[in-house]
């Protein structure tokens, strides 16, 4: 994969349009999902900006991890976007995601199917930003902890810790939605922003929270 990618990068740098198309198809889904966690519904616009810059700066790419290079560009564009907006946009409502997820989990258990990508991402997006970014860079973009740390400007250890915390939080969420599914469906009518969500989770399912510490 990596070899294929770097070949395509070299070809695209030489002007090969098909190689660039390959790069786009390989990287865009991950970028878009990552950006969705950062800027919500504006992710597509920010991704377009990112690709504009990627195609412009491609000749200057001097080697290294191309995924990290592109995701850094995308992240910078997202930060600019947030700065323009002066606020973190309200994230996609996780209620539906959670209920869907519960349904999915049920079906998955029965039919061995997986949860929907969108639902999974919506759940990840409810994490505190550091944790969400760490999880997405590791699991969705496919960077190792060191490279993700370079993108985020943090040490690899910090990224691993953040990802670990995020996974535990997700697990608790899943557990809760699974165990308390019947009652939760109504209680989650006003789904919260990440941090509030966490508080509610602690209130609703105190047993899940100690696992975090």
């Amino acid at each position: 994969m990596t070899g294929e990618l770097s070949e395509a990068v070299a070809a695209a740098q030489a002007g090969d349009e098909e190689a660039f198309r390959f790069l786009y198809r390989s990287l865009q889904p991950g970028l878009l999902r990552y950006l969705t966690a950062l800027v919500g519904a504006d992710a597509e616009d920010v991704a377009s900006e990112a690709w504009l810059q990627i195609s412009r700066d491609l000749p200057g790419f001097a080697g290294g991890e191309f995924r990290a290079w592109t995701v850094t560009i995308a992240r910078n564009r997202a930060m600019d976007h947030l700065r323009r907006q002066r606020r973190r946009p309200s994230l996609p409502v996780p209620v539906q995601a959670l209920s869907e997820l519960a349904g999915d989990a049920d079906t998955a258990e029965r039919a061995g199917e997986t949860i929907g990508t969108e639902s999974a991402l919506a759940l990840i997006a409810t994490l505190p930003q550091r944790e969400a970014e760490a999880v997405l860079l590791r699991a969705v973009i496919g960077l190792d902890a060191e490279t993700a740390g370079r993108v985020l400007g943090r040490r690899a250890g910090a990224v691993r810790t953040a990802a670990h915390r995020g996974l535990r939080r997700l697990a608790a969420l899943l557990e809760r939605s699974d165990v308390h599914q019947p009652s939760n469906r109504t209680e989650q009518a006003t789904p919260p922003r990440p941090r509030t969500g966490r508080g509610r989770a602690a209130a609703n399912a105190p047993k899940a929270e100690p696992a975090d510490g």
């Binding site: 865009q28 929907g116 759940l123 996974l167 939080r169 997700l170 697990a171």
Partner: protein, 313 residues
């Protein structure tokens, strides 16, 4: 307690393993968290690639016009060029002003005689000062007082300048270069293409020395054209100025206009005295005519009729 242990990965290592598995896309156990991660990293859905053509268009555009470096590069030299032009213009203006000043101060020493002239112009009054330039026009202005002539010589030349600045200036320059050479070198120099214009203008290689002595008379050994020597020296130098300042036409134009107007008033005051030394004035104008009209001026030395068009215009 059993419930707690079941929630999430036990440590960072397990989390790492989970994350790596998710990326690999393998379907792990029935662990919901693993499912979630695999789902998050699932292959592209069609909707996610909707911007593909837009991205390719951006790629094509970037290839067609490589943006960052080359776009900045031309701009900077452009700014530099403008800056250099402005700087040169400033330099040229200063130089021109210097030459003009030098020309004026060169002429002043010649002026002890004409003090009458200003007074005459004062007595003639404003209207007559204006009139001669127009009605009696070309000839009186040109034939001004011997004393007046130098001033006229200094001033109107810039007015003539736009007409033939480069040619006259170049010829003067060539003449200076030519006269600076030793006699044996002169003959050789005249064969070089750089002096072809000069030779042609002078009317032959043997005429060049005379021609140049008239055009650049500072070196003239003859005492007779003395008055005209200094006065026509001014045109020579000031006509050199237009050549230099050709980089900044606008500025020179305005400078020329103002000094031309200046010359007009001074020369307008002159007509009354004009006949006092007609031959002398003719000579003084000849220098101007030469510098201004180059070739034809040669034949018309001392002949006011020939000079008029040049000066009057």
């Amino acid at each position: 307690m059993r419930f707690h242990r079941s929630v999430g990965p036990a440590d960072r290592a397990e989390s790492d393993r989970l994350l790596d598995t998710a990326r690999a896309g393998r379907q792990p156990t029935a662990d919901p968290l693993a499912h979630l991660l695999v789902a998050a990293a699932a292959p592209a859905e069609p909707g996610e690639l909707s911007g593909e053509e837009q991205a390719l268009a951006a790629f094509r555009a970037a290839r067609a016009a490589p943006v960052p470096a080359p776009a900045l590069a031309p701009r900077r030299p452009g700014r530099l060029r403008v800056g250099a032009a402005a700087w040169l213009a400033g330099l040229a203006t200063t130089a021109t002003a210097g030459v003009a000043f030098a020309a004026v101060s060169l002429d002043r020493p010649d002026q002890p005689a004409p003090p009458p002239a200003p007074s005459t112009s004062g007595s003639t009054g404003g209207e007559s000062a204006a009139a001669p330039t127009g009605s009696q026009g070309g000839s009186p202005t040109g034939t001004g007082t011997p004393g007046q002539a130098p001033t006229t010589g200094a001033a109107p030349t810039p007015t003539d300048g736009p007409g033939q600045p480069a040619g006259a200036g170049k010829l003067a320059g060539h003449c200076k270069a030519y006269l600076a050479k030793s006699p044996p070198q002169r003959a050789k120099a005249l064969e070089s293409p750089g002096f072809a214009d000069l030779v042609a203008t002078a009317g032959g290689a043997d005429q060049v020395e005379d021609f140049c002595l008239r055009l650049v008379p500072e070196r003239a050994p003859k005492p007779s054209p003395d008055a005209s020597a200094t006065s026509s020296g001014a045109p020579a130098t000031s006509s050199a100025a237009p050549a230099k300042s050709s980089g900044a036409p606008a500025k020179f134009g305005s400078a020329g206009a103002s000094s031309g107007a200046d010359g007009a008033t001074t020369s307008a005051g002159g007509p009354d005295n004009s006949n006092s030394a007609k031959s002398n004035s003719g000579k003084s104008n000849s220098g101007k005519a030469n510098s201004g009209k180059s070739g034809s001026g040669m034949s018309g030395v001392g002949n006011p009729a020939v000079q008029r068009p040049g000066v009057g215009g």
